[in-house]
């Protein structure tokens, strides 16, 4: 639907949005009588039972009030937008965000499941982010959007925690249930943290001090349209939440202390700032903050009468504030400015606009006969009932201060815009706009007037029912009227009006003092904090994640050592087990000495790379001897063959790598690494000792031994394990090798191009060389050795199943035999004589291995089941054939392919670069 909206024309966009909103509102209206009569329409669809999250909606009077406000005013906004938005605005995008926002707001109102409410709650943060940032080319919009998201989204996260705790304390996430469990919740230890977190969510959303600062910057939104939305509905979400959870959370001292105080402070604070703003939208924004403070304070009092006052003020505020925003929007639209200092005397030029602006401002000021007056009276009356720290005068006094300030800013708005000397901003002769812009605010002003003149008729039942819903008790007896007789509230009200007028009279002087004073700008603070956070985070991130392999490895080794020590502290005295040790022959000791000496020498001579390699060979040889001595002929074979290939590989690479000795690291670093190495080595030794000296328990290899011949058809248990019992491992192993070959090819094939190719071509060997490329004796010997080595390879392959050997070693022998040709006769000579490519070898090897595995499925046996049999041929005699040998062929293919791929490619790199000097880049 969004996509369709994007593409369709402006009229269609508006039509769809308006119709959707209108339908919603009408449905709501149709349900209203029943709701007010006590019905509770509800619907529920399970969503995530594990979470207690269901799509559970209900419509009680409070929900009705809020949903009605949102949809009713939403409809007016769409109408207004039709007049406001210019043709070239992307209305589709704007309206989809708006509808998303509106939907989320309605969702909050209607949720009967707190988790669901959280979903909608965060959605409003998100959609308001999009709306505020709608005019994304302005820095103001982007920053405002981000700030709003950070503050309200962050508050929302606290709310999540709070709601979950609340649900936990109440034992349910169903709102209807939770609301009946106030006593249980308030007795729970979770109450205080839950309350704090929930209030954090509510206060940020409702822009309560000190989280108020995002709201004025949300006014950077493209139009007063969305700005209104923020002030008239979204910010009320916090108030709604307080009202919604009133039965379960309100009434405690903590509630009073937090909620009433915050509201009161915010009321005064917001009003004071509003008085000195010059941007119309900013004035309205801060007034909103102040008015919200008022509502919050009332809810904080936690009396039914205060709740009734709050509810009625919500209604009033929605009407007059929406009207005011639209009013300011018209002025902006018609004059091209929102700066109140550049505007004035507009009453004569745009009378209709002025009338409605003045009326709405009067409502905001709390002047009779508008609804705002009544709710303010109620407020003042409630404050008079409230004592703080035993003092009954403090709250009423402060509330009156707030009221005074609000009179002052309201009057400033009305008088500054419409009266006095004529100032018309950017436009010479502004005039009243068309019906689309005028009708909605007019309707709202009429409503505001109605709330004052006929309060009980228009709002009475709704306020009564809603208050009952808020307090969770019986419907209170309320009396909405302009005249309650001479009482304290009236006196305070009059005082406020007079004070307001006085303040306005002294406004110029005050404004000067305010302008020259040093004020903490919350936005600048917030931005600075954010920038500092980002900078600090970036610095920390960069410092930690420096691209140093040394650090990666250092931490890895250190972690392993620490974890090893964790376990070692539990090994206790039993380091040595009860198994008798094996005596060491002098030869074994000699080999051990050689190994240790070679290891030490590698470490010492590491900077002379060639020498280090020679000593690596010694270590390899010593280990091969150890394998021979310790009954592992297969391992010895493999070790010997792999060693040769590895050395060739390292020499090939070393040729092109820089040969000058590496820079010596600092003594401290070397010492540190040496200590770490010794600790790790000591740990490894101790662990190896501990395990080797332990008596061997029952192992699964007993089964392998027993079944090797009877079940696997071979006497070399190691080989039968590799190609039968654990052939699956071997399949993975050859795939690893095959991948290594492919990856090496992928790395080296393009090495002659680009930066690498340039470097290769520029590469000059600094060592003096003998001119002889192919020494005669060596070449001749390798020609004889090739068939001989192939024969040995075949032999080792064929007997592997019963004697040491097998596909892997055989393939290495084949590879070495061919590599010898490369070494002796050169790359080109050998390459043109080779018959099989490495790629097909690897591919077919893998296919044969998998095919062997799948073959057994045809016989109803599991994947990779082996089979063998003894056959008799004339002359040849009896011989054995096993499917495992086919598998071993696969092993040999892949190993040969991969090894040849690695070494042949590597050996070819330098020459290829020399040969194609102009092959740069293209393929």
């Amino acid at each position: 639907m969004l996509g369709t909206l994007f593409r369709a024309s402006r009229t269609v966009h508006l039509g769809v949005a308006g119709a959707a909103t209108a339908i919603g509102f009408v449905v709501l209206l149709s349900l209203a009588p029943a709701v007010l009569a006590g019905d509770l329409p509800a619907t529920r669809v399970a969503w995530v039972p594990a979470l207690g999250l269901e799509l559970s909606l209900w419509l009680d009077p409070l929900a009705l009030l809020f949903a009605g406000l949102i949809l009713g005013i939403g409809f007016l906004v769409v109408v207004y937008a039709a007049g406001y938005l210019s043709e070239d605005e992307p209305t589709g995008r704007f309206l989809s965000f708006l509808m998303l926002f509106q939907g989320a707001m309605v969702g909050i109102a209607l949720s009967n499941n707190v988790v669901l409410m959280l979903v909608f709650w965060e959605l409003t943060s998100l959609s308001s982010f999009l709306l505020i940032g709608f005019w994304r080319h302005t820095a103001e919009a982007r920053q405002g959007a981000r700030m709003a998201l950070a503050v309200t989204g962050g508050g929302g996260l606290a709310l999540i925690a709070g709601m979950l705790l609340l649900g936990q304390a109440a034992g349910s996430f169903e709102l209807a249930t939770i609301l009946t469990r106030g006593a249980i919740v308030q007795a729970s230890p979770l109450y205080a943290p839950a309350l704090l977190l929930i209030l954090l969510g509510a206060f940020t959303k409702s822009a309560q001090f000190p989280f108020h600062f995002w709201l004025p910057h949300a006014m950077a939104a493209p139009t007063p349209v969305s700005a209104y939305l923020h002030s008239a509905t979204m910010v009320k979400a916090g108030v709604f939440l307080l009202a919604r959870l009133w039965p379960v959370l309100a009434g405690t001292d903590l509630w009073f202390a937090l909620v009433a105080t915050t509201g009161l402070v915010t009321m005064i604070f917001g009003a004071a700032i509003a008085l000195f703003r010059t941007d119309l939208k900013a004035i309205l924004a801060y007034s909103t903050i102040s008015q919200l403070g008022l509502m919050v304070m009332l809810l904080g009092f936690a009396t039914p009468a205060a709740a009734a006052a709050a509810v009625f003020h919500i209604l009033n505020h929605a009407a007059f504030k929406a009207a005011l925003f639209m009013n300011a929007g018209i002025v902006d639209h018609e004059t091209g400015t929102r700066d109140i200092r550049r505007l004035g005397g507009l009453a004569r030029l745009m009378p209709l606009t002025a009338t409605m602006g003045v009326l709405a401002a009067a409502a905001m000021a709390g002047l009779p006969p508008l609804g705002g007056f009544i709710s303010k009276e109620m407020m003042l009356h409630e404050t008079a009932q409230t004592a703080v720290l035993g003092q009954t005068w403090l709250v009423p006094l402060l509330a009156t201060v707030g009221a005074t300030l609000s009179v002052a800013y309201s009057l400033r708005y009305a008088l500054g815009l419409y009266f006095g000397p004529q100032r018309t901003g950017e436009v010479a002769k502004p005039h009243d706009p068309g019906a689309a812009l005028l009708a909605p605010p007019l309707l709202l002003v009429a409503l505001a007037l109605g709330f004052g003149l006929l309060p009980m008729l228009i709002a009475g039942p709704l306020v009564t029912a809603t208050t009952a819903a808020v307090t969770g008790g019986a419907p209170p007896k309320i009396d909405l009227a302009l005249w309650h007789g001479l009482n304290l509230a009236l006196a305070l009200s009059v005082g406020a009006v007079l004070g307001g007028a006085f303040l306005l009279a002294r406004h110029a002087a005050l404004a000067h003092r305010v302008a020259t004073g040093h004020w903490v700008d919350a936005k600048r603070l917030f931005d600075a904090a954010m920038d500092a956070l980002v900078t600090a985070t970036r610095r920390v991130t960069l410092a930690i994640h420096a691209p140093s392999l040394q650090r990666y490895l250092l931490l890895l080794f250190a972690t392993v050592v620490v974890l090893g020590l964790d376990g070692a502290t539990k090994v206790g005295p039993v380091l040595t087990g009860g198994r008798a040790t094996t005596p060491a022959s002098p030869a074994a000791i000699v080999v051990w000495v050689l190994l240790l000496a070679a290891t030490l020498t590698v470490v010492v001579t590491q900077r002379q790379r060639f020498l280090a390699l020679v000593f690596i060979s010694v270590i390899g040889l010593a280990i091969a001897l150890a394998f021979v001595h310790l009954s592992a002929p297969d391992l010895a074979l493999t070790q010997i063959a792999v060693e040769v290939v590895t050395i060739l590989l390292l020499l090939l690479a070393l040729h092109l790598l820089p040969k000058q000795p590496a820079r010596l690291s600092s003594t401290r670093r070397r010492l540190r690494d040496a200590v770490l190495g010794l600790v790790a080595g000591g740990g490894a030794s101790a662990t190896a000792w501990a395990i080797m000296t332990r008596v061997r328990g029952d192992t699964i290899s007993t089964f392998h031994w027993a079944n090797s011949y009877s079940g696997g058809g071979g006497t070399n248990v190691v080989n039968v394990t590799l190609v039968d019992f654990r052939a699956f491992d071997t399949m993975g192993e050859i795939i690893v090798l095959g991948i290594a070959g492919l990856a090496i090819f992928a790395l080296l094939e393009p090495a002659v191009r680009g930066a690498a190719g340039q470097r290769l071509r520029a590469w000059r060997d600094t060592m003096p060389h003998s001119p002889e490329r192919h020494p005669m004796m060596f070449v001749m010997a390798t020609r004889l050795l090739l068939p001989l080595a192939l024969l040995v390879g075949i032999y080792i392959f064929l007997r592997g199943h019963n004697q040491p050997g097998g596909g892997f070693v055989a393939a290495l022998i084949f590879a070495i035999a061919i590599l010898l040709q490369y070494l002796a006769s050169g790359y080109d000579w050998t390459d043109e004589r080779r018959r099989i490519g490495e790629h097909p070898l690897i591919a077919f090897g893998v296919l044969i291995a998998v095919g062997t595995g799948l073959g057994s499925l045809a016989f109803g046996a599991p994947f990779l089941s082996s089979s063998f049999g003894y056959f008799h041929l004339p002359v040849v005699g009896e011989f054995e054939l096993a499917t495992a040998m086919i598998f071993d062929v696969a092993v040999a293919c892949v190993v040969l392919g991969a090894v040849m791929m690695a070494l042949a490619q590597l050996s070819h790199v330098a020459q290829r670069a020399a040969r194609q000097p102009d092959a740069e880049g293209e393929r």
């Binding site: 979950l164 332990r694 994947f863």
Partner: protein, 508 residues
Amino acid sequence: MTAFDHLIVAPIVIPAVTAAVALLVMRRRRRLGAALSLAGCVAGLLAAVALLVTASDDAIRVYAIGGWRAPFGIVLVLDRLSAAMLVLASLLGTIVMAHAVITAADRKGWHFHPLFQFQLLGLNGAFLTGDLFNLFVFFEVLLIASYGLMLHGQGAARLKAGVAYVVVNIVGSAIFLVALGLLYGLTGTLNMADMGVRIAMLPSGDGGLARIAGLLLTAVFALKAALVPLHLWLPRTYAATMPVVAALFAIMTKVGVYAMIRVVPLVFGATTGEAAWVPSPWLAPAAIVTALLGFGGVLSGRGLRESAAFAVLGSTGSLLLVLAAWTPAATAAALFYLINATLAGAALFLVADVAMRRRGQYGDAIVPTPRFAGQDAVGLLYLATCIAAIGLPPLSGFIGKLLMLRATVDAPAQPAIWATILGTTLIGVVGFARSGSAIFWKPADGGAGLVSAERSRADLTAPAAALGAIVLLTVFAGPVSDWTAATARQVFAADRYVAAVLSSEAGR
């Protein structure tokens, strides 16, 4: 055995055959090779889904490779956990493969398709195997394939990062082998179910050694999962590689998490004395730091890929933090979040790729540019992806986070866990808002016109598909979370797993 019983090897056989055939075909007929590879992905996905349906009856199915019964041979085990991971990997693989083919990323170097298929093979094998050494082997398969993929397309930065990635993981493999050897030396078995049983029966003097082995093993898993302080390799690796490859890598860290979920309750369960719940004292603190560093990186990232990489890190941290409680409820929640985090992490990289393709020389740097083709569409995708990645409503990330919060409500470290999860979410929100607004909102100074000629919208398909999967996960969050809950129950009922594996009728 019926043919259907053999289906369990399909996730291994299909990619193996596809890889080999693609290797043979690709040299001559690129298109055919790519088509085969994509078809292989789809076939693998279908097989995985069939296995998932099979596993949903709560039975644990054991398949003895080569007919050798556990613990003597290698068995594949299909339970809810392995089936779910298979589907996740196959789904991700298919989406990413589609993107690679659509954007021709597979032509930026050699052997993309074989390497990709082998990568899937390694993943699937790791999820299915019931044998610890075999797990090592499949780890190696998936690692070495990842080395190849990571280097795909090459370039100095990628190669440099590749060296570090490869070396660190080689050392990790060495540690894996030491742990494995130690466990075999102590227990005389390699089968995980059997190993758990035998560790519980070790003489008391061997408990410390078992603990060392367990700690080393989990250190290896933590390295794969990129848990602080073993996470250092991740940001640069993921940011330096091609985004389409990084998208696939979104599941690589989850393999480490999977391995912990599989191994710890099974091998180091409550009855194993000093080795019980072996990573416990270390896991949660490390996870907290991981989450903080991860989302901090999102906030301070200079490129889309970098911040996506850090987002992957952060999600792993959150996930392991919850997992560290080692309760079925926490594991269930973590599993749900894992699915979301994998898809969202991949989507982040795919969207970054799409943005890079359109922003020309600006690449993925978080700086304003002149308008580029499809800016709004890409921006919308980015927004939705970020929502999923950080866990804002309405997408499944939010549900995942709520599940994790709820699951840890009684945990001793509940305040720390909640503060971490929610605090890092806020950092992530701010971070993504910054990057999104800089790239998709802020116009470049004095810039005019388009930066790149890329006008096709085909490359939006795969990111949109990833998002579609996330939307489905959201809509069906109920059934999925029920599934993960049942999965967690199954994981923690180690005795059922042991009984299924060790008493299996299959095999010689």
